[in-house]
Amino acid sequence: MVEVQFRFRDDEAVNDPAVTVDAFTEQSNATAVRIEPGDDARALLPYLDQLALVEVNFPAWTDGRGYSSARILREAGYTGEIRAVGDVVIDMLSHLKRCGFDAFAPEHPLNPTDAQNAFERWDNVYQATADGRKPIWALRHQS
């Protein structure tokens, strides 16, 4: 199993093996599931309470479906870990985090300094997303 290199959670790491979405929805006692790019994250919505870990796989970092999957889970109120796995590269990190990812297990470990810089890159953001940050338009109009 690939190691989690970055984690932004205080709770204990979940190490249960993740099952596929199909397997999960059929035999539902697992607590960890892995979403592939073609899976519908909304299939998990009835089970959010029992889930502690959702891995979102990026077989290729240029396939951006996983960003939507993560946001959909967060928008539905899921508060457990969402872990990016697979072809996770430096330049995705801040965007993944904005979409609700809070753990990162890149297939090829990343340079820690570069990763740190990437996570801290954007002091402000234009959009409201799953990370709860105040977008620039909110900063402009706060009373």
Binding site: N111, W122, T129
Partner: protein, 544 residues
Amino acid sequence: MYKYDQYDQQMVDTRVAEFRDQVRRRLAGELTEEQFRPLRLQNGLYLQLHAYMLRVAVPYGTLNSAQMTVLGDIADKYDRGYGHFTTRQNIQYNWIKLEDTPDILADLAKVEMHAIQTSGNCIRNISSDQYAGAAADELVDPRPYAELLRQWSSFHPEFLTLPRKFKIAVIASETDRAAMRLHDIGIKMVKNDAGEIGCQFYVGGGMGRTPMIGPMIKEFVPLDQLITYSEACLRVYNRYGRRDNKYKARIKILVHELGKDEYARQVEEEFAHLLSQGIEPPLAELERIKPYFDDPAFDTGASDDLDLSDSDFRVWVERNCHAHKQAGYTIATVSLKPIGGIPGDASADQIRLMAQLAKDYSFDELRVTHAQNIVFPHVKKADLYTLWQKLDEAGLGTANLDSVGDIIACPGLDYCSLANARSIPVAQKISERFGSAEKQAEIGELKLKISGCINACGHHHAGHIGILGVDKKGVENYQLLLGGCEGADTSLGKITGPGFDEDGIVDAVEKATGVYLANKQEGERFLDTYRRIGMDPFKEAIYG
């Protein structure tokens, strides 16, 4: 026009730092070219046949003199003394060194410019009507909405690795001057029965190898739901757009395969969900943006009189000027299509001269058009003759707007690694064949567009006459299309038949215009005659 506040400036400065770091990692060998490619593309940097090309964003085609001056300076400092204005209302430089690009971006950031998302599989620079804020026929100025979308789409974390590129246009008049329905999303500002302004959404248009005219999927989106609805459109595309075949990855294929009603239904479902997510900026943000696009301080007593005794000037006024909403003013277009020239090219000196003239005669504002020309949006008629003389002295006084010499052409095989055939030499030959004032006057409005491959960057599908360069067993070959049109009555051109070599295609164009001249009725343009008499007489003349 819009001015950055501290936040906008910080975003652009941060991007410069990020890209500088990416280039450093590439040059240090930490990134392979394969890994670097999507990153540089999201910053408008292409690797072409001979060098890197950098595409700089001109949001909704609007820029001021200081910005235009810097565009000229970059051409001198980092390129070969010229720049190329593009069909996306941007400018690109064809001879760039990778190691210079962070410094170029830093130069641009100083005048509130950037190259963010000018290529790559993300939301591209938002385009708009080049006459926005000046045209007599617009409902509202579309640019505040385009600016709102610009900010929303910049570094949108969910939509940076879409199935394919994504282009949005916003217009606000019946005369569509931005080819709105040939965009992934076309937004038309409209007024509903209650008198409220809102957005009409057209989704799934595009050119490329499978041209499609975007269908309307939502008649009216209120202004305080514009971002939320756009986000819903994008999310459905990001999740379900095809990724198995890059030639079927544009949203037009998704909309076509699902059917517009089913696509609209899925968007509606996502939209209903997203409305509860608090992602919409308050209307106060639009109200903050709007005053930047207020009218300049027009002289309301300015006269509409024009001395047209200089016949060259008269021809230029008739061809290149457009009705302004303010009495005493006009909209003047500078054609970057001199006879025999390269469409859209301008030298550094010409760029700086236009910057100065805009400052002197157009309230410090210029526009780039999707037809690769430059607009002075607010010229007092009393200044028009002086302006024209100064342009003409610099080789910028060509009077051929929307005529056969005003050709749109992609860079083609002279620069582009995707091209199958050269576009520029064909454009030059046609321009020379039809360039005389008499010929142009005789033929009138005729939009001719040339692409060097089926990706259609030269908009050949939308040309009254379109030319498509293909590779036929290693030889450049050119197909002829007739009847395409952008605008309110958008239509796609049809191929006449077998293709031609470089000289043959120029002859074929001449034969086609000959059929028009022989058949035209009073007041008809080439396109009108074609639509009335159909393809057959043209085929007969060309192949008979």
